[in-house]
């Protein structure tokens, strides 16, 4: 059974996203890991065939931890799939607990995405290592009025009941996850390519020139993140995602042209666009 490492523990949004993966045939053995780095290491080391990590949120933007691991640390891994999950938070407590709220527990991201609700509750907030951990804490608490902000799945896993659903500040939020493995995915006709672009030393206009090479070949940019080269302030590399497969003539041609101009390119993978026909 293929082993898929994910950012755990059990019941996280990443764990839910494992259920949406289509590119791995048959039943999956989902293996929780504590950090984004250790998910990627599990795949690099061969302990797991695949790994799944959050890449960007429609509210918080790209996940810097994931971007930095892909930019700086990834050696053997290839992004081979993307998965988009609708993200919603509810307020949950133990069955039978009808007391007025006395404290609220959640992961810092959960607290941040539900700032208004948490503020209106007006009780002390406690940060936990995951929303699943917040649910465990509430389930095992012997105090009344302790509230977890978490996903419906995590709450169900710990037998909690909803006080209010959909308590997030921005309803309709989504998170994009990426699946990493060690092989490239074949072209399907509706693909994306993720790559790191390191500009040549001559800096003026380097991003513009790169975008011109892509646009001149009809390639649409779907995501851009700038990350420091860690040498000097203001020197960046870029993590880009374009529509198209690295095996397509347009993508390969743009990469060749950029390399000729002194850019360095590290291809991190090509994979079917989420929502395209399987």
């Amino acid at each position: 059974m293929p082993r898929v490492a994910y950012l755990g523990p059990e019941g996280t949004f990443a764990h839910q996203a494992v259920g949406l993966v289509r590119g791995i045939p048959g039943p999956i053995d989902a293996v929780p890991r504590r950090t984004v780095v250790s998910v990627v290491e599990a795949v690099e080391d061969g302990d797991c065939g695949f790994g799944l990590v959050p890449f960007e949120s429609s509210v918080e933007g790209q996940v810097n931890l994931t971007v930095d691991v892909l930019v700086h640390d990834a050696e053997r891994i290839q992004v081979c799939e993307e998965v988009v999950l609708a993200v919603t938070f509810g307020a949950y407590r133990r069955p039978g607990d009808e007391a007025a709220p006395t404290s609220v527990a959640s992961h810092p991201v959960g607290l941040a995405q539900c700032r208004r609700y948490v503020h209106d509750l007006g009780v002390a907030a406690r940060e936990t290592s995951s929303t699943a951990e917040a649910c465990r804490l509430v389930a095992e608490s012997d105090e009344a009025g302790v509230v977890a902000i978490a996903s419906p799945t995590a709450a169900a896993r710990w037998g909690l009941v909803a006080m209010v659903d959909g308590v997030e500040d921005f309803p309709g939020a989504e998170t994009r996850f990426v699946v990493v493995g060690t092989d490239a995915a074949p072209p399907t006709g509706a693909d994306r390519t993720m790559f790191v672009l390191v500009p040549p030393h001559d800096r003026a206009g380097v991003l513009l020139r790169a975008l011109e090479q892509l646009s001149g070949r009809g390639l649409n940019l779907s995501s851009i993140a700038s990350r420091p080269l860690r040498v000097r302030l203001g020197e960046y590399c870029f993590l880009l995602v374009v529509d198209g497969h690295v095996a397509d003539e347009s993508v390969a041609g743009a990469f060749d042209a950029l390399r000729d101009e002194g850019y360095s390119i590290k291809v991190l993978g090509a994979y079917p666009r989420w929502g395209s026909a399987p």
Copy 2:
């Protein structure tokens, strides 16, 4: 005496950066605040004339919290100065404590930027709310072998002595801070302009077209951050910094042209480039 809010507590890198500010005449009353949001609020509310917050690090990139406050929350404030601080961490303990290390305390960013040293110490790490707080903790501890990872300034403030200097993974790191006030700074001939660019709905190539407008007027881009519009995945606005003052014909002309093309632009300020003659 002008009051300058900064990301506290006393002894943080932001506190040190207050000492580098040149645009506020006379002695300064430096006022610590607990979060980036509350620094900006102090200025918006009129409680402090100025505020100073970290904007980007040569190792960690743009500070998302600051970028989001500038993009989404800033109403009256204007960025009026930038300040660049060399960042170094040392390992500090109480005078006379010669015991082998038993634990290490620092802010998560300090622990992250000194990962190698912390790993080699091989003792338990404890996260604190600031590096200054780590120093206080060590100074007031009655255990032997407790080590703080902090700036030399924070260590001196708490009377600690250096075990090792310069324990960061990437020596030569710098952090850029910005000073916010309520007035624009006049042109000096060596300025920068910071602005938020929201692309028109027609999305293909919007970033490319914006960069062309800037580049066509000889404007060099010194920083770019993409932040989600919080509506749908893949819909971004951009926080850009270009060389030039918003009152310059080239900058004003580019903004006019972009507005004509349907972009929305919010100018966050113009200020002298760090390192240019005063």
